[in-house]
Structures are given as structure tokens and as C-alpha cells.
Symmetry: D2
Subunit: 143 residues, 4 copies
């Protein structure tokens, strides 16, 4: 599906919002692609973000999946709106093994009151990148 942004300056607004998220800085996360209804965020799997088996913690997978989905939704919102996650569901189906997580968020259905979103998270391990989780949720605009 092709989406039109609701506000022409959504790109700068999104990057500015992202820069203010201390948690994203803690994780070393970056926006690597941004289009209306679409956002890709990466985060390195570094020592401080692992769980008990040495893989990336589910919270990191959730963090960048949720954030990619949220910024995909933000492009569908008015200039003054900020985006808030109402609810998010994550299915984790492979170990987050490797050196980088890549989350691709997209808008499923834009709406005035609610925006339905999804995301897929993949892990890059050496030369291989394979999907490890899917997310489905709801974003709302707040002023």
C-alpha cells in the first residue's frame, strides 16, 4: 500500500522525536529508512542488552519493533501530534542471535483516531539475516 504523509515535515519531526528518546540512545538504535507509513530501525546486539543465553533480550526486539511501528504511524498524523503506543503484541519465534537487530515497521490501516501497525524484526548473524519476531498493535495521536 502507498501512503501519503499528513504533514510534509514528518521526516524532520520524526528524527527529532527519535533523537529525544534516551532509551534509543542507550540502545545505539538508528533510523535507517523512513517513508510515509514505513520506518526501519536498527540496534546493535552489544554486551549490555543480552538475556541469560547471550542473545538479544526480548525487550530490545520489542523496543525497536514498537518504535519502528510508531514512527511509521507518525507520518500519518497531523503536524502537532505525537505518537503513543496503546497496545502491542509480539510473537518471538527465533533466537535474537547475531550482531544487529533490524525492525521494519509499517502502517496496516491509518485512521484519524487509531492507526493499526505491524512490524517484523530480523537478526543479522554474520552474512545471514533472518526474521525473529512479528508485532501487531495500535498507535494513537496525542497532542
Amino acid at each position: 500500500m502507498q501512503f501519503k504523509p499528513r504533514f510534509a515535515g514528518y521526516d524532520a519531526k520524526t528524527r527529532n522525536s527519535f533523537a529525544q528518546q534516551a532509551m534509543m540512545k542507550t540502545f545505539g538504535a538508528e533510523i535507517v529508512d523512513l517513508k510515509p507509513g514505513h520506518c526501519v530501525i536498527t540496534a546493535p546486539i552489544k554486551p549490555g542488552v543480552t538475556q541469560q543465553h547471550g542473545f538479544a533480550h526480548a525487550a530490545l526486539t520489542f523496543a525497536i519493533g514498537d518504535t519502528a511501528a510508531g514512527y511509521a504511524a507518525l507520518s500519518m498524523m497531523d503536524e502537532k501530534a505525537e505518537v503513543l503506543t496503546v497496545e502491542m503484541k509480539i510473537n518471538l519465534y527465533a533466537p535474537a542471535k547475531g550482531d544487529l537487530l533490524i525492525a521494519t515497521g509499517k502502517v496496516v490501516k491509518p485512521g484519524r483516531r487509531l492507526i493499526i501497525v505491524s512490524a517484523e524484526v530480523a537478526a543479522r548473524n554474520n552474512d545471514q539475516t533472518r526474521p525473529i519476531a512479528v508485532l501487531q498493535g495500535t498507535m494513537i495521536p496525542v497532542e
Copy 2:
């Protein structure tokens, strides 16, 4: 509901597993209560874990809610099993404002193959502690 642990040494096993989660250390999270089918984890809302409005990031709320639910489930598992989140759904309904998050995880239904869990996360702001999110999900044992 009252639960009996499947393995007498679950307490030490759980605390040992928790200690190996680098992400929990990064967040400064602590287990503050642990009983069969029940686990409470706290994490301070410090500068590195906020989102763009200065409140705790949803990823922190998810992280400790999911972890509290997981360790509640671990007490229902055999000695050699470790716990893995299959899926988790979170509804976020109030800002994570304050200085501390408190997640209470519990077992809804223990099973041999799957354990259904839930968690509630609250934020402590000065003298007030109020619920901000609920989680519902599925844990499995892995060896």
C-alpha cells in the same frame, strides 16, 4: 490461586538466571519478591531509559513486565528447564511517570507444554503508585 513449585531450588535458580541477564543490569532491575507462580521486579526510571516526553520508555515497562511473568512461570518448570517468551501482549494505559516501575508477574495457568502468564506494571511517583500497563502472554520451557 496457590501454586506449588515443580523444583525445590527454583528460588536460587531464578536469581542466578536473572543475574545473567545483562539487560536487567543495564536497567538496574531487581527481583523484590519471588514465590511459586509469582514474581515482582522493579526498575528505576533513570535518565537513559526515557522516551521523548521524559517518561519511562514502553520498552522498560515491557522488559520488566515480561521478565516478572517469565520468572513467575519458571517456578512451575522442571529443574533443567529455562523459560522463553513465546508471545506477549501489552496494553499501556497511563504514562510511566515517576522514579520507579514495579512489575508483578503471575501464572494464570501452568501446563507442561505452555504456561499462560499475566503481569501488571505500576509507576511510583512520589508517594503514589498507580498501574500503567497490563500484559498477557505465553511462556514455554526450553532445555
Copy 3:
């Protein structure tokens, strides 16, 4: 938690709305308890609602769980509002075996724009009633 209804006539309004749901009639469902933020709905497990093993179909469990949660939320809404399910997650953890399903819906967090709800569904088999599913979701008011 104790809830106050937003509109005094919520009881008649709810029963009237329920009576207009043809699906509830098809299922033989009934409201058996209704209070602010709380609603109990039952449905018989009759021949036309089973799955391939002769137990109640997950769709029946979902139907009355979702409806009980929705009408629990309706009591928190203004006079003119109707209730709509935005999203609902169900964990099914025991077979829906017996002659009657009983869904207890409740409000987790009332809000002006969104109401967070949960429900538990139990199956009555001879003299025993045991929980088979939990639901967690979001309702919105529509006019």
C-alpha cells in the same frame, strides 16, 4: 476496583443493545449479571457451536468473552455512545468441554478515548466450572 457508571440508564441501554445482536440470539447467549465495569454472559454449548472434537468452538469463547468485556466497558461511556472492540487478544488454555460457557468481563482502566478491558471464560461440565480462557483488549466509544 469500584466503578461509577457514566450514565444512569446504562442497564436498560446495555440490555437493549444486547437484544439487537442477532449473533447472541443465534448462540442463545444471556446477560446474567451487569454492574458498572462488570458484565457476565453465558452461552450453552449446543450442537451447532462445536469444533471438530465436539467441544465449544473458540469463536464461541471469543464471542461471549469479547461481548462481556464490551458491555462492562459500555457502562463507563456516555449516554449516546455505543461500544466497539478495537482489538482483543485471547489465550485459550483448556478445552471448552461441558454444557455452558460463562464469560466475566471487566474494566481494567476506563478512559475517555479508550477503555482497557479483560475477561475470563469458564466452562461448566456437570458440577464443575473451570476457567478455559482469558482475554485482554481495548474498547472505544462510537456515536
Copy 4:
């Protein structure tokens, strides 16, 4: 993604299982497409399945979305296995208005213990078919 069935006779097995679901008969549901990891089910929006506004009840949307996803998963299971929904999350984002619902279920990730699935449900209204809901969930094999 291309999937190989685990058991050559999955087509007959699936249709036989479907035929035994009384609820599907009550709804007039039909399997209209079936391939490994993929299943499409339709159901007419007839008088007995509506909610209070005359649209299809969310339970019908859930019923065929969940069933399409389940039978998509069944093709990934061994000969003797039957499929069971462990958990399912549905986001409903447009009214189920029209004369027919069409659910397309697919496998996101097949596994030995768990199969991650998704489904999209659309409503046909005169000449237009538009998506109204998405589902994401987990299926397990049972013997």
C-alpha cells in the same frame, strides 16, 4: 514464502476436519483455497450473525480468521496431528459491512512445537472488497 506440506494427504485431512466443525456449518463457512501454509475461508453475512448495527459480529470475523490461520498451520503438521489455537490477537479496523467475509490465513513461521500464523479478513460489499481486520497468533499440534 513457499511451504512444503509435512504430510501429503493434508488437503483431504483438512477438509475432513473442517466438515466436522458444526460451528462452520452454522456460519455457512467454506474453504475456498488451500495450499501448504495458506488457507482461505469465506462466510456469508446473513441475518443470524450480525451485531447491534447490522454488520457482521466480531465473533464471525474472529471465527473465520482463526480457522483459516489454523488450517494454514495444519498443513505444516504431521499426519496424526490436529491443530489447536493457543492464542490469537485480532485488530478490527473497519465495519464488517456487506454480504461476505473472506479470511486469508497464512503461516508466518512453522515450527515443531509451535506455528506462528497470521490472517487478514476482508468484507465484500457489492463490488468492493476491503480489509477489515488482521489477526496474529500461535497454533500447536495435538494428537
